[in-house]
């Protein structure tokens, strides 16, 4: 169980995370949704200890330190691989540093994305770099896999197929926390949706609960954000008023 209790993070006068509490048991596929600047990346970085914060984050009751950090992995669009080390070189490096490294899974995923093993990722396209980042996060052998907008730059076929492959390879004990804007692409894939809005958790629901309520994920998200369905009409009305003035 990964437990986040009352985590607050401030940047100067701006509050990026405001008393966030969240429990992630093993085996869940959790979608983390929120507008740009909602705090999704900040939350992940706090979990990984990359940012100081107030409040408590524990993994099976223990603080996250060098002793247990390998149980977490992170795929970030800022990229965490070595630009000049080949794919095969990364596999060896990971095998040496992460006892639970899944070499077979690494090879299968490299092949799935048609990523070359013998070239340095510096020469990859942006989409390929993101894919490589995801491959490493999934192959590290972590129990909690954090993915922050992992698919920008990948085309829709690659993304769709990737979710399917993911469902086929994940063990029951692996937890995925996936932040993305592509709600409709992941709504059948995830088991739970967590919404962040202006640094606060504004929604947390299991997909089976949501399905029983008959509400779509998109409607749930809009409702939780107080989405104003009249905003399009208002903008058009205001603009047409402006045009009429001329």
């Amino acid at each position: 169980m990964l437990e986040i209790k009352d985590v607050t993070k401030r940047f100067g006068s701006k509050t990026a995370l405001n008393s966030v509490s969240l429990s992630l048991p093993r085996g869940e596929l959790v979608g983390l949704f929120g507008e740009n600047g909602a705090g999704k990346t900040t939350l992940m970085k706090c979990i990984l200890g990359l940012m100081g914060h107030s409040g408590q984050i524990t993994l099976d009751g223990e603080r996250i330190t060098r002793k247990n950090i390998a149980r977490l992995s992170f795929a970030t669009c800022e990229h965490s691989f070595f630009p000049d080390l080949s794919g095969a070189g990364h596999a060896d490096f990971y095998a040496a540093h992460f006892p639970a490294f899944r070499r077979r899974r690494f090879e299968v995923l490299m092949d799935f994305f048609s990523l070359p093993l013998n070239r340095a990722p510096r020469s990859f396209s942006t989409g390929q770099k993101n894919q490589f980042e995801v491959v490493l996060a999934l192959s590290q052998g972590a129990d909690y896999i954090l993915m922050d907008e992992p698919f920008s730059g990948s085309d829709v076929f690659n993304r769709e197929d990737f979710y399917k492959v993911l469902l086929g390879i994940l063990d029951n004990g692996e937890t995925v926390l996936l932040s993305t804007h592509m709600l409709e692409e992941v709504d059948s894939f995830i088991s739970r949706a967590v919404l962040l809005h202006s640094g606060r958790i504004t929604g947390d629901i299991s997909m089976s609960e949501l399905e029983e309520s008959g509400e779509s994920l998109m409607d749930y998200v809009k409702r939780a954000w107080n989405y104003r369905s009249d905003r399009i009409r208002r903008a058009i009305d205001e603009l047409s008023g402006e045009a009429g003035d001329r």
Binding site: K164, V165, L167, G168, S188, S191, M207, S208, E211, S216
Partner: protein, 130 residues
Amino acid sequence: MISFDGLRLEEGRPIYLQIVLHIKRGIVSGAIADGDELPSRRILSALLGVNPNTVQKACRALEEEGLITSHAGARSFAVVTPETIAACRAELVRGGAESWARSARGLGLGLDEALELIREVWDNPKEEEQ
């Protein structure tokens, strides 16, 4: 092995029900025979791109209706008997009639008009669109 190639998931309808319906259609059409094996939960989840919980929910519903039996090792097999075929057919036909009646009523048709229309369409079936 029971095929799910023909199943296209639709928005706005519980996915587990769409999986259940796919099996019922297969049983009625004869595409699924008695003892045909279902792909494993994990494979099915990956094939359809849906969460394993959803697949599990569909399998539980199918078991409760007696349309599949599950054995050790999580292997599941279709139960196709004259009784299950009849039950699935009755349910599918009734479901179709209900949804047609709902939309006809929504368009302002009365019962007599609706029956007349059915009779007319029944006697002059259009070629099915490809």
